[in-house]
């Protein structure tokens, strides 16, 4: 059984089909790559899988459980976390708050817990703060820990996006273009973080433009075009595939 199983997923926007029966699996312990030309439906797939958009048809199983069309928070709590292509962050929350927000199961989060503040609520909030500081340190965000997210540089926002995902302690993270618009040295750093996290046991499904990064990190790689997947295999296998080359030939832009 695969960790994430996607079957016949369909989604259209006012008659335009963004997903036309995408079906593939992502395995436990793998960094699976998802590539395909612009407009292939990759981001839409993430939106549907993470519950941000409703699927028109098809099913999504995660960890053996049917999560199709659950609410985003239910899917996150099931252990499947996603990031956004355009790192959005919460502009009027500080970096520390952005991180702490993603911690699961905080007893101080209920209205009663907020007002009563029992010892368990205080203890867990303190533990979450420690954890957030650790994550910030790991991602080299300690210097900006008290800055508003809106004041971060583009690269720092990308790192924060990853940091927040880690805070939720998910089984799998869906990363949407983690290296887009990032300079080469930061791309190396981000790649390092992903590999480290994978070694620690987090599974990944990554949409990425940067083919060097995909080659370095991802195995297997799934190729999507026009709303469905059509080739899967190692990076070498899929890039050697004539159909893949054809899909990309017409479109100069790889993503």
């Amino acid at each position: 059984m695969s960790l994430l199983e996607i079957k016949d997923l369909t989604k259209s926007f006012f008659g335009a089909h963004a997903l036309r029966g995408a079906s593939f699996n992502a395995e436990q312990g793998c960094i699976t790559g998802l590539i395909g030309p612009n407009g292939a439906g990759k981001t839409t797939l993430f939106n549907v899988v993470s519950g941000v958009m409703r699927a028109d048809g098809g099913t999504v199983l995660f960890d053996g459980r049917n999560i199709t069309n659950l609410r985003p928070d239910e899917i996150t709590r099931a252990g499947l976390m996603r990031t956004f292509q355009i790192a959005r962050g919460f502009p009027r929350l500080t970096v520390l708050e952005n991180l702490m927000l993603y911690a699961p199961g905080n007893p101080g989060e209920t209205l009663v817990g907020a007002i009563w503040r029992g010892s368990d609520a205080r203890a867990s909030e303190a533990a979450i703060r420690e954890e957030a500081l650790r994550v910030a340190k790991r991602l080299d965000l300690t210097r900006v820990i008290d800055n508003y997210a809106s004041d971060l540089s583009g690269g720092q926002k990308k790192l924060l996006e990853i940091g927040r995902a880690i805070m939720a302690k998910p089984k799998m993270i869906l990363l949407d273009e983690p290296a887009a618009g990032v300079n080469p040295s930061l791309t190396r750093i981000i790649a390092g973080h992903i590999r480290e996290l994978a070694q620690e046991g987090t599974s990944f499904l990554i949409i990425e433009h940067d083919m060097m990064l995909v080659r370095e990190l991802c195995d297997p790689v799934i190729v999507m075009a026009e709303g469905r997947d059509f080739v899967a295999g190692s990076f070498a296998e899929v890039t050697a595939d004539a159909r893949v080359q054809e899909a990309y030939l017409g479109k100069r832009r790889w993503s």
């Binding site: 519950g51 941000v52 209205l111 007002i115 609520a121």
Partner: protein, 295 residues
């Protein structure tokens, strides 16, 4: 203490409750409530009717008013949950208008535009000065309680969730929070406090009528919160006192412009309120006591 001063501080305390209520929903969670006057009137009428018609003791009636305020707030958010902010603005505005229509038209219950008079005080009115001081003390205690509650909420993980929803509801859901539930609970708490303010007003002045709960009242509370500092409970209280100061100061318009009629004086005063609000939005949108960074 001088009776006039006591009256003004009591009134400011009641406005402070309203401003704290608005700060919970709009200031912290970004849920606009243009129907605040409707919820305030629900509290005032509930408590006023329960005491005058059914003879309930005042504290029990106030509690019931808060529960009715909570229930109506929860019901309204439940219907409007999936709506975008701009729709929420329209729906809450409409809600207040429907409440006002009901109060004007259901004569058997509310006496329509004649209003309800003879509402008992929280402290017996026979005590005179004792009533004034006692009500003031209770109003201040109620504000203190509301402030304590609202600030507990603001500085807790729950409040962090609220501020996250204000910035990006979808992102908050992805962070694993049940946004719907949080919104409903918060709006309910906020409307319960609005109803409390309304009930306090009814028992303090002894008379309520639909005239008092016009959309203008909502505007006053927005002005108070914006002047004070949206997102900051202390700012909400500060703004309420400032509002009373502005409204009282504008009383001097009448004697200084004797050539105009009473209607014209009232019109000048409301134009001033509108101008002050617009100037605040243009030049000091964060208010006098802005929201501070959470550490």
């Amino acid at each position: 203490m001088d009776s006039y001063l006591i009256a003004m501080v009591t009134l400011a305390a009641i406005y402070a409750m309203m401003a704290i209520s608005l700060n919970l929903s709009w200031g912290l969670a970004g849920m606009v409530n243009l129907g605040l006057a409707g919820f305030i009137s629900i509290g005032a009428y509930a408590s006023g009717l329960l005491t005058t018609v059914l003879g309930w003791p005042v504290p029990l009636a106030i509690l019931a008013a808060m529960i009715i305020g909570l229930v109506s707030g929860v019901a309204l958010t439940y219907v409007t949950l999936r709506l975008r902010d701009d729709y929420l603005a329209i729906v809450t505005l409409g809600f207040a208008e429907v409440i006002r229509l009901a109060i004007v038209n259901e004569l058997w219950l509310t006496h329509g535009s004649d209003g309800i008079s003879g509402i008992p005080g929280i402290v017996a009115r026979e005590y005179g000065y004792g009533f004034e001081l006692g009500t003031l003390a209770l109003a201040l205690a109620a504000v203190a309680l509301c402030y304590w509650l609202a600030d507990r909420v603001r500085t807790s993980p729950y409040g962090r969730n609220l501020r996250a929803i204000r910035d990006d509801p979808e992102g908050t859901a992805v962070a694993g929070k049940n946004v719907t539930l949080i919104k409903v609970k918060t709006f309910g708490l906020s409307t319960a406090i609005a109803a409390l303010a309304g009930a306090f007003y009814a028992h303090y002045t002894s008379f309520i009528s639909p005239e008092i709960f016009q959309p203008l009242l909502t505007m006053y509370v927005f002005l108070a919160l914006t002047m004070g500092g949206t997102g900051n409970n202390r700012g909400a209280m500060l703004g309420a006192f400032l509002l009373i100061f502005v409204l009282e100061a504008s009383r001097f318009i009448a004697p200084s412009l004797p050539q105009f009629s009473a209607v014209q004086h009232a019109a000048i005063r409301e134009m001033l309120v509108a101008v002050l609000f617009i100037l605040t939005l243009l030049y000091r949108p964060q208010g006098i006591s802005p929201e501070t960074r959470h550490r």
